[in-house]
Symmetry: C2
Subunit: 376 residues, 2 copies
């Protein structure tokens, strides 16, 4: 750590009652994780969960830092990829955490992207009915989205994230230096979630991104600024509605269409990764809102233009390969867990930064809209 | 249901913020579960979890009642016994609940004793990050203890209840008619937890039990009164300290010694069931408190006399068969999850109804005390 990196660091405080926590954003946080943890948590034991891509890059630095600050740590390295979010791996993680004799004040540490965070967070939420949890997200997607807010989970044969708990982290260390090792495609996919916060309720942030996105992609300080604003946005929503009984659903902007497209390619990351599905989904949400005369077509065009400029897919036809019939896409939407008592729930919009929850969208409209859109 | 049974019914309201719920206590509640559920919960689907002992007695009546009130229900009958609290069975339950397309406002219903309640409650807490949960406890132990308060869990090779969540029920239906099918031994074991509430902080209730225990054993209305007072006591403690960061630990009176004794017989229910361990444990806690000059030996004698009168074991030597060396009992105590950073935590007492948390009990004192006690 040097003075320059410390100076550029940002802190977002998530003021949840009784369980408030800090998100630190800046370069070099992995190397000084030990100090940040010991200054906030009482326990002196930790169980690190990571994956095969991330371990060779950052595990040693993290272990060294924990050791230096007197934290006794063990680690478990799991296969990379969505399939790791299984009951079998959850069982392995819990067994490792219990073997390490982690008590309530000790920590489970997730070092990796969203998959590792979701899995390790679930384990932290159920071992001894909840132990401390530290997120060290290493992907942009995880830094701006999944590491904040306490949603954890695994997949089952019935669908994604169908088992899980709300378990807030006690600390999030978003080391922006870790983003330098991401592929361009991965970074872009995470960027879709950054843009989402502007599109939900912050038109000024979306405008800022339209002007500054190249600097966000190339590095600090705009990158740190964009991540900090994203975390602040997510924190605001989560504090208001931790368990998604209302406003938190806005975070699903672009996700209902996006999940259906991910399901349509059978979660084949070569064809479509989550953030790309969200990018296309957000454009579709704006276009559908325009079609329903809720928003201006100009806003839909503006969203599409920006996401296209950064290199994200924005149309269904941008997805390589064949897609199933439109009715099957709709079925996937209806099966999504955000369905309430059979009605279709979508996040729609009145314009840039003016999104809202619509819970009675007619499926016939969605069907004809998708039929039209997939051909262009 | 007849007018007499309705008249004798009791309601305990648990005023947890945002998640308040009712406990109904009285005969015939299983037969009218449907009405009680539909008047409180929005969902019209339910997944019932029960076991092989309970299903033949009450499952049909419950299914009929749900159907009459328009609730579409499926059921899963599991083997009876502590081994059912496993990850494997949790997985089976979750799969069944997801197959039944239970959404957040629908309910998982636990019909059975503590094992079924702990397992089904855990599943209800993690499916879709939490669906509604109804407890229909059929043992005295579950009615006065495990069905109230939201602790759920399963066992692992590392110990009991090491994986779980806090997930409060939305409704508890304690059908006192179901207790008529319990064996005398099971009823007595549950009674130990009833007496516990008096010994924790309600000397008047303990005195009432000393006078009325025979009526509690033989049936209404004293039985209903005892269960209602127990549920009210537990509710008071849980509302004050839902996640056991302080006062809730008092509910562990008798449990630290009790768990060690259960472990010593390798959880062989033929030799010692949980409530019996708690009975001996409470006597030991009072005797140990007397030995430490914290309480009067007369109080310890009074506790022992009452529990003995109802037919519960009160001495280590009441446990049939050989026990391991005292040091191994102590090791079991130290491994108990209620250990904080290596110190021994016990619930001790200043007298009847004057229990408190002592978190720095010297293990040498415990060792010599146990050595002395096991020989008498």
């Amino acid at each position: 750590m040097n003075e320059t990196s410390r100076a550029s660091e940002r802190l977002v405080h998530v003021p949840l009652q009784g369980r408030a926590y800090d998100i630190l954003i800046g370069p070099g946080l992995i190397e000084r994780a030990g100090g940040e943890i010991t200054s906030r948590l009482k326990g002196r034991r930790a169980a690190i969960v990571t994956d095969e891509n991330v371990a060779p890059l950052y595990l040693e630095a993290l272990m060294d830092s924990l050791q230096t600050d007197g934290i006794e740590a063990v680690s478990l390295t799991l296969p990379t990829g969505e399939k790791t979010k299984s009951l079998e791996h959850l069982s392995t993680v819990c067994d490792m955490v219990l073997s390490a004799r982690i008590e309530r004040n000790d920590a489970v540490i997730a070092l990796g992207g969203g998959v590792i965070g979701d899995l390790a967070g679930f384990a932290a939420g159920i071992v001894r009915r909840g132990v401390r949890f530290v997120q060290i997200p290493t992907s942009l997607l995880a830094q701006v989205d999944s590491s904040v807010g306490g949603k954890t989970g695994i997949n089952t044969r019935h669908g994604k994230n169908l088992l899980g708990v709300f378990h807030q982290p006690d600390l999030v260390l978003a080391d922006t230096a870790a983003l330098d090792t991401l592929s361009e495609r991965e970074f872009r996919a995470g960027y879709a979630e950054v843009a989402k916060y502007g599109l939900i309720d912050q038109p000024d942030f979306f405008e800022w991104l339209e002007k500054n996105w190249k600097a966000v992609f190339s590095g600090e300080p705009e990158r740190i600024e964009a991540i900090a604003r994203s975390c602040q946005s997510k924190s605001d929503v989560v504090v208001e509605d931790e368990r998604e009984t209302g406003r938190r659903a806005l975070l699903n902007l672009g996700h209902t269409f996006g999940h259906a497209l991910e399901a349509a390619v059978e979660y084949d990351g070569k064809r479509l990764v989550h953030g790309e599905g969200v990018a296309i989904g957000m454009v579709l949400a704006y276009q559908f809102s325009a079609r329903m005369n809720l928003a201006s077509p100009d806003d839909a065009s503006r969203v599409e233009a920006h996401l296209k400029a950064v290199g994200l897919p924005t149309r269904i036809s941008d997805i390589p390969g064949e897609l199933p019939p439109t009715q099957r896409l709709l079925d996937a939407i209806a099966q999504d867990k955000k369905v309430k008592s059979g009605k279709l729930t979508f996040i729609l919009t009145h314009g840039i930064g003016q999104s809202f929850v619509a819970d009675d969208v007619p499926s016939s409209e969605v069907l004809s809209f998708l039929d039209e859109k997939r051909s262009r």
